[in-house]
């Protein structure tokens, strides 16, 4: 049932009806529900009135609120006032009784605006949407979950956001005194402990004033580098508590702290090294929190005429992919100074540098990160100058210091020309490599990306999925010429992020009229992808989702096959547990079942361009569409 069926002004929904019918029999519901029992069931076509058997099967005993006085100004209204002060546009919701008070207040007291409820079909999808949205919008989204079970479902999405250093404002309901057998497991002695390993802060406010303070604290901590998700646990009774005097309950003032900047003396030293370097190399990680960070990195690279190596996976908002300084500088470029910006895995590069007598500078907020159970950082790296501070916030000072030093402009220009020549050679080699398998069936990945590029070349487009599974062809064949062209990978290298995060990214781009495209693996789509598509259809989020359908967990096919070879046995059986065929899922039919325009499976490369054209026409008209491309492995 769509959320429109549950709108407060519509006829009673099926769930309410079931609850009312059964609870009425048990004399546990207030009189209002008695009236609801006689109200007509939802009148939308295809929705049938539930039977008495349905009611018995689905009845969830409510918490005993019978006889409770009507609360004109419940605590959850104040919570909504606080959330509005944080300027959220959307909140992802999969409903649950632990936050029914807050849910109701968001709709009625809040008018379902800022934040507007985004109905999601799985809490992991909701967290991933918030993750993708935050990177594309430059500000956090809220996700609201049921106690224990909802948080457990969302935990993977929160982990990915943590690993990607992206803020997600997560709120989970907590039933204070559950009496029903159904709800008891949905409260916990320490709810936050479920995800504490991968949120920056969690808190369970004891009263409403405390809620306001905790919400603002979580918001500011989450958005301060190194950024990350945060969690608030909201007590069910606190949501219901009557506010005696609303005028005495103020919403605290929000003041965002400035991000940590590197020490001025250390920045001067870094500038001296870079200005004097013969072959500097810049290696950015998750650097640009804002478009300004992208611009500053371009400015620094052009000032130094230094190549910018984004690495295998790159990141969101890192560096324009067709810029002449993009790349390693060519095979003959042996850097004597590496500037690492927000990198947490430098060991290999630094080892090579030290062997060659070069120096390494690291500027990163990662030095401010607290220890966690999950180690997503590499081993200790012996850099020569380590600066604890946010890379983006430190770049202006570094650029100023380099400018003050002046330097050998002619030498830098000559260096830049050599780097640009290497870039041009490398790009021509990439184009040449893309020709191979061009007419192959299944479709080659570069053909898939190139056909897409041809279709969107006159649009203001944005890739909202990662490129972990497309062999970086997106970056090679699409011109990432502005900060929002690419939304980055999942962070934690877990499957299931790309599809819902694409929906979240597309939601952010919708406000700017940008054409959002996600290229997601079939393995990824099969996690929570179909439900995420429904959210896109229901909320009219324009998005072209391309299924890179290689019908396998492809990396694992290679890994298990390699292991069998290494052990000299079983080489002919390693598709067991790794491939997705027999039957091959029909993703177009799945999408159509969720109300989304879809085409495929397409294995003829000649049919791809027209299919993209038809699907993109739907996307440009404001709806999601899916094209299932049967593809080469990578």
């Amino acid at each position: 049932m769509s959320s429109s069926d549950d709108a407060p002004t519509s006829a009673v929904g099926r769930r309410d009806f079931l609850l009312g019918a059964a609870a009425g029999a048990a004399a546990l519901v207030p009189a209002a529900s008695d009236a609801q029992q006689t109200a007509p069931a939802a009148e939308r076509s295809g929705v049938s009135r539930p039977t008495a058997s349905d009611a018995r099967a689905e009845f969830v005993p409510p918490e005993p609120r019978a006889g409770a006085p009507i609360v004109a100004t419940p605590g959850s209204d104040y919570m909504v006032d606080v959330l509005k002060a944080l300027d959220f546009d959307y909140v992802a919701v999969n409903p649950g009784s632990a936050f029914e008070g807050l849910h109701e207040s968001l709709i009625t007291h809040g008018g379902n605006r800022k934040p507007e409820i985004l109905t999601v079909l799985h809490e992991e999808a909701g967290a991933a949407m918030a993750h993708g949205y935050a990177k594309a919008a430059g500000k956090p989204m809220m996700t609201l979950m049921h106690g224990t079970v909802g948080l457990l479902h969302a935990s993977m999405g929160l982990f990915q956001a943590w690993a990607d250093r992206v803020p997600v404002f997560a709120v989970v309901g907590q039933l204070r005194n559950p009496t029903s057998v159904v709800n008891r497991p949905h409260s916990a002695q320490d709810m936050g402990s479920i995800v504490r390993d991968f949120v920056k802060v969690d808190d369970q406010p004891a009263d409403l004033e405390h809620f306001g303070e905790s919400a603002l604290r979580a918001y500011t901590i989450g958005r301060t580098p190194p950024m990350g998700p945060t969690l608030l646990v909201v007590d069910s009774e606190l949501q219901e508590e009557a506010i005696a005097d609303r005028t005495k309950l103020r919403v605290p003032k929000l003041t965002m702290p400035s991000p940590p900047q590197g020490d001025a003396g250390a920045v001067r030293e870094a500038a001296r090294w870079l200005a004097a370097a013969e072959r500097p190399l810049i290696r950015p990680g998750k650097l640009a929190r804002t478009p300004a960070g992208w611009d500053r990195l371009v400015e620094l690279a052009e000032l130094l005429q230094a190549p910018v190596d984004v690495g295998t996976y790159g990141s969101w908002q890192d560096f324009p992919s067709w810029h002449p300084l993009y790349g390693t500088g060519g095979p003959g470029y042996k850097p004597d100074v590496i500037l690492a910006l927000e990198q947490n895995d430098l060991a290999a590069a630094v080892g090579a540098m030290r062997a060659a007598g070069g120096k390494t500078i690291s500027i990163s907020a990662e030095y401010l990160f607290q220890g966690h159970n999950i180690h997503d950082f590499a081993g200790y790296t012996e850099v020569d100058l380590a600066i604890a501070g946010d890379g983006e916030a430190t770049l202006p000072a570094l650029i100023d210091e380099i400018k003050k030093l002046g330097g050998a402009t002619r030498q830098r220009q000559a260096r830049g020309l050599r780097v640009a020549a290497a870039h041009k050679t490398q790009r021509e080699q990439e184009i040449d490599a893309a020709r191979y398998g061009w007419n192959a069936s299944p479709v080659s990945v570069p053909r898939m990306v190139a056909e897409l590029a041809r279709q969107v070349q006159n649009d203001d487009w944005a890739i909202v999925s990662g490129h972990q599974f497309t062999g970086t062809w997106q970056r090679r064949l699409l011109n990432h010429d502005t900060h929002y062209r690419y939304n980055g990978d999942c962070g934690g290298f877990g499957i299931g992020y790309d599809t819902p995060a694409s929906v979240g990214g597309a939601l952010a781009h919708r406000a700017h009229g940008r054409l959002a495209v996600g290229i997601v693996g079939d393995g990824d789509f099969n996690f929570v992808g179909p439900g995420a598509l429904w959210t896109a259809a229901h909320h009219k989020i324009p998005l072209l989702l391309v299924i890179h359908n290689n019908r396998a967990y492809h990396a694992e096919v290679m890994l298990v096959q390699r292991t069998a070879g290494r052990r000299g046995r079983g080489s002919g059986q390693m598709d067991i547990g790794t491939v997705i065929r027999e039957p091959a899922p029909d993703y177009a039919k799945i999408a159509q079942g969720y109300g989304v325009y879809a085409e495929g499976p397409i294995s003829d490369p000649g049919a791809l361009g027209p299919a993209f054209e038809r699907a993109l026409a739907r996307v440009r008209a404001g709806e999601p569409a899916l094209v299932d491309v049967v593809s080469q492995p990578r």
Partner: protein
């Protein structure tokens, strides 16, 4: 349906007979042992599903041997050199598949040899040619601050 079954038939492009040359190609295989082995006749039609389904060769090398790491076509090994290499690979990127029967490898060899080795010229690929042109145009405009566009 298997991955192979969905692909076009290889029969039209198959090179049927594969000669057996007793050459070890310096890959560590024993010339003496190979000399004693009977000649193997590779069957590309049998090799296709072995490549795509049973041994998952496609996973690294692509279904046509053209799109993966590393590219298999044109295949410069002799059949015996190929069998010796696959069974005793010295490369870290590719382990030795010692348990794969020589006849299966002969069939896979015949299949790979049947695959097209050439790629179409850039002039025949407007989508790709357009990308290269736009890239070169973007480079020409450097260091102007204008956004070059896709």
């Amino acid at each position: 349906m298997s991955a192979h079954a969905e692909r076009r038939s290889v029969s039209s492009r198959a090179h049927r007979a594969c000669t057996v040359a007793f050459v070890c190609a310096g890959l560590g295989a024993s010339a003496a042992l190979l000399a004693q082995a009977p000649a193997l006749l590779g069957d590309p039609q049998r090799g296709a599903p072995l490549f795509a389904d049973k041994y998952n060769c496609y996973a690294c090398h692509g279904f046509d041997g053209q799109t993966g790491e590393r590219r298999l076509v044109p295949l410069n090994y002799t059949q015996d050199g190929f069998i010796a290499f696959v069974q005793k690979s010295p490369l870290p990127q590719m382990p030795a598949f010692a348990d794969v029967p020589a006849q299966d490898l002969a069939d896979i060899y015949a299949y790979i040899r049947s695959l097209p080795a050439d790629a179409p010229p850039l002039t025949d690929l407007p989508a790709l040619r357009g990308i290269l042109d736009r890239r070169l145009e973007a480079l020409k405009r450097y260091p102007e601050k204008k956004k070059p566009g896709l």
